[in-house]
C-alpha cells in the first residue's frame, strides 16, 4: 500500500487533481448558479495556458507592461547586520502598481478578453489587487467594479483614490466584518447576478477551482525567475524561502517552482496580529482548523458553531480568515512550514529594511521580513534565504504614521 504523504513528495508534484483538490482541500463549493461560469472559466484556462499565442502575449505584457523580470537583490548590509544567512529580496515591489498582484491580473484580464467578457469585478483588502485589476481593466477598456470592505476603504484611502482615477467603481461593503472576506462575499453576489458578461478576477489562490491553480500559475513567474536568478548569482539553489501568507498568492508564486527541490525549506508567514494567544489574529494555518468558505475547503478561522471569526492584522492584505487550499495541503504534507508574526514584530521588520537597505516595504511583506530577522541568525553565513518582497509600502504610510502617533 502506498503511503501518500511520502510518495507525493518524492514523485513530481502535480496538484491539484482535475476537480481542483489538493488532498482533501480545494474543490468547488458554490451555489448552482456559479457552476456554469466556473466550468466556462476552467475550460478557457485549460485551453489558453497551453496556447502558444496566449503565452506569448502574456510574456510580452509581463516584460513590457509589468516590468519583469523583477530583480533578485542581495541585501548585503542587512545580511551582515543579522549575522547569519545571506538574504536576497525578490523585488516584486518594483512591478508596475507596486506589488506582485499585477502578475495575476494581467493574466486573468487576457483570459477575460479571449472569453468575450466586457465587465470585470474584483475584491480587494489592502487595495493592491483592486489597483492591479483597475489598471488592467483601464488598459483593455473594460468596465471595472471593485468590492472593498468599508474598514479597508478607510485605512487604504490612497489605493481607493488610485482605483477611482483608473476608472473603476469602488463599492464600500458594509456587511459582516467590513473587510476582505465580506468584499469577497459581495463580489460573489455580483457575479451570480451578472454571470453572462462578467469576469471575476480573484486576487489570491483561494476560491472555487480553477482559481487556486490558475492564480498560482500566473504567480509562479516569481519563483521561476528567482530560481534562475539565484543560480546565476550564487551558482546554487537557496536554502530557504520566506513569504507572507494572507490568501497566499505571493507565497505560492515563490514556493511552487521549488516544491520538488526538497533541499529548499519554505516558510509561509501568517499575521499573528495582537498575538495568537489573544485570538485577535489572521493565522488560520497556525491556529485554525479545516472548513469550507468562499468556494474551497481549507484551514479557516471559525468558531465551534462553524461561524467565521473576525480577524485582525495591522496589514489589510493579510486580514482574511482563510488561506489558499494548496497551502493547507503543503502544511499537512510537511513540505512547507507555517509560522506567524505579530503586528509589533512586523513593524520592526518594516523599519529594519527601510533603514538598512533604503527600501520601504509593504506591511504584508514586513511580516516575511520580520520572520527573516529570526531565521537568518540561526543559519550559516554561506546559506541563502530568498524573501519575497511582495509589495512596496507607499500605501501604508498613513497606517504606520497613525500607529506611531505622527500626523501627516
Amino acid at each position: 500500500m502506498r503511503v501518500t504523504k511520502v510518495n507525493t513528495m518524492t514523485e513530481k508534484y502535480n496538484m491539484p487533481d482535475e476537480r481542483g483538490h489538493f488532498g482533501v482541500y480545494g474543490g468547488i463549493f458554490v451555489a448552482e448558479t456559479l457552476i456554469p461560469p466556473i466550468q466556462e472559466l476552467n475550460e478557457a484556462y485549460q485551453r489558453y495556458l497551453k496556447d502558444p499565442e496566449f503565452i506569448a502575449e502574456l510574456s510580452a505584457d509581463l516584460k513590457n507592461y509589468v516590468g519583469r523580470p523583477s530583480p533578485l537583490y542581495h541585501a548585503e548590509r542587512w545580511s551582515r547586520h543579522l549575522g547569519g544567512a545571506q538574504v536576497y529580496l525578490k523585488r516584486e515591489d518594483l512591478n508596475h502598481t507596486g506589488a506582485h498582484k499585477v502578475n495575476n491580473t494581467v493574466g486573468q484580464a487576457l483570459l477575460a478578453k479571449r472569453m468575450g467578457k466586457t465587465r470585470i469585478i474584483a475584491e480587494t483588502g489592502a487595495g493592491q489587487h483592486g489597483v492591479a485589476t483597475a489598471t488592467v481593466a483601464a488598459r483593455l477598456g473594460l468596465e471595472c467594479v471593485v468590492y472593498m470592505g468599508s474598514v479597508d476603504v478607510a485605512r487604504q484611502a490612497l489605493n481607493v483614490y488610485r482605483m477611482k482615477l483608473l476608472g473603476a467603481t469602488v463599492v464600500s461593503v458594509e456587511s459582516g466584518s467590513k473587510t476582505l472576506k465580506d468584499a469577497l462575499n459581495e463580489a460573489l453576489r455580483d457575479w451570480v447576478t451578472n454571470v453572462d458578461n462578467t469576469f471575476y478576477i480573484i486576487g489570491t489562490v483561494a476560491g472555487p477551482h480553477p482559481y487556486p491553480a490558475m492564480v498560482r500559475d500566473f504567480q509562479t513567474v516569481i519563483g521561476h525567475e528567482a530560481k534562475q536568478q539565484c543560480l546565476e548569482a550564487t551558482g546554487r539553489l537557496p536554502d530557504a524561502l520566506v513569504a507572507c501568507v494572507g490568501g497566499g498568492s505571493n507565497a505560492i508564486g515563490l514556493f511552487h517552482p521549488f516544491i520538488d527541490d526538497t533541499s529548499v525549506a519554505m516558510y509561509g508567514v501568517e499575521a499573528a496580529g495582537d498575538g495568537i494567544e489573544t485570538g485577535r489574529h489572521s493565522a488560520p494555518l497556525s491556529a485554525g482548523k479545516p472548513g469550507v468558505l468562499h468556494g474551497n475547503r481549507t484551514y479557516l478561522m471559525s468558531d465551534e458553531n462553524g461561524e467565521i471569526i473576525e480577524t485582525h492584522s495591522i496589514s489589510a492584505g493579510l486580514d482574511y480568515p482563510g488561506v489558499g487550499p494548496e497551502h493547507a495541503w503543503l502544511k499537512d504534507s510537511g513540505r512547507a512550514n507555517y509560522v506567524s508574526i505579530t503586528d509589533i514584530e512586523a513593524m520592526a521588520g518594516f523599519h529594519a529594511l527601510t533603514k538598512m537597505e533604503g527600501i520601504i516595504p509593504a506591511l504584508e511583506s514586513s511580516h516575511a521580513l520580520a520572520y527573516t530577522m529570526k531565521l537568518a541568525p540561526t543559519m550559516k553565513k554561506d546559506d541563502i534565504i530568498i524573501v519575497n518582497l511582495s509589495g512596496r509600502g507607499d500605501k501604508d504610510m498613513h497606517t504606520i504614521a497613525q500607529r506611531e502617533g505622527i500626523e501627516l
Partner: protein, 267 residues
Amino acid sequence: MSRLAATFEALSKAGRKALIPFITTGDPNPEFTLPLMHAMVEAGVDIIELGIPFSDPMADGPVIQRASERALAHKMSLRRVLALATEFRKTNQHTPLVLMGYVNPIEIFGYESFADAAKLADVDGILTVDLPPEEASEYGSLLKARAIDPIFLLAPNSTDDRIKKMDVLGSGYLYYVSLKGVTGAGHLNIADVEAKLQHIRANTQLPVAIGFGVKDAAMSKTIADIGDGVVVGSALISKIEANLDDLDTAKRDIIALLAAMRQAMDA
C-alpha cells in the same frame, strides 16, 4: 415514503401546489421562531424551510443577510436550530421541515454526526446552498441512509446534464432558483421560468419548487401555475425587519401575506 414525497403526492392528487415559507431561525430572536412556525402551519403552508444562520451567506441578498446577523447576535447555531426542530415536532408530526444553510457549520459539526442529529430531530430535508453535487455524493448518501432528503438547487443556467445529475442525487424536491442573482432580487421573468421548467420536467420526475423573487399573492399564483411549489423568504423576513419594535405586527403581517398567497394559489 418521506414526509416530503407524501406531501407533494397528496397535493398533486388534490390539484394543489405547495406553499413553502423560508424563515431564518432565531430572527429576530430565538423565542419568535417556534410560535411563528405553528402559526404558519395554521395559515395553510405545506412545508417549512428553516434557515441556518451563517456569518457569510454568499448567495443571499441583504434582507436574509441581516436576518442571519440578527439571529447570530442571539447566538443562534446549528445545534439550536436542531433543538428548535425537535421542539416543533412535539406538537406537529405532519408538516415537513427542511433545513437550509451553508456547508461550514455542517462541516464543523461533522457530516455523520449532523446526519444523525437531523434524523433524531425528525427533519425531512436538507438544502446546503454551497455544496453542489460534485462535492456532495458522500454527504447525500449519509442523509438518504437516514431517510432524509438531500435537496439541490437548479439555476437558470443549469444544463440538462446537470438537471439529470440532481435528479439522481436529490430527492424530496428540487429547488429552482428562478433568477440569476441573490435571494430577494426583483427581476423575475415569468416567460423564462416557464421555458426552463419544460427542460427541468423533461429530465426529472421530482417535484420542483420555485423560489427567489416571489413577493406577493399574485406572483405566488403565477409561479404555482408553473411549478409544484412556491418558496417565499425575503418577502416574509422584510415584515420582521419593518417591525422590529413590534413583533406581534411582524407576525400578523407574515401570516396575512401567507394566507393571501394560499388563497390566490388555491383559487
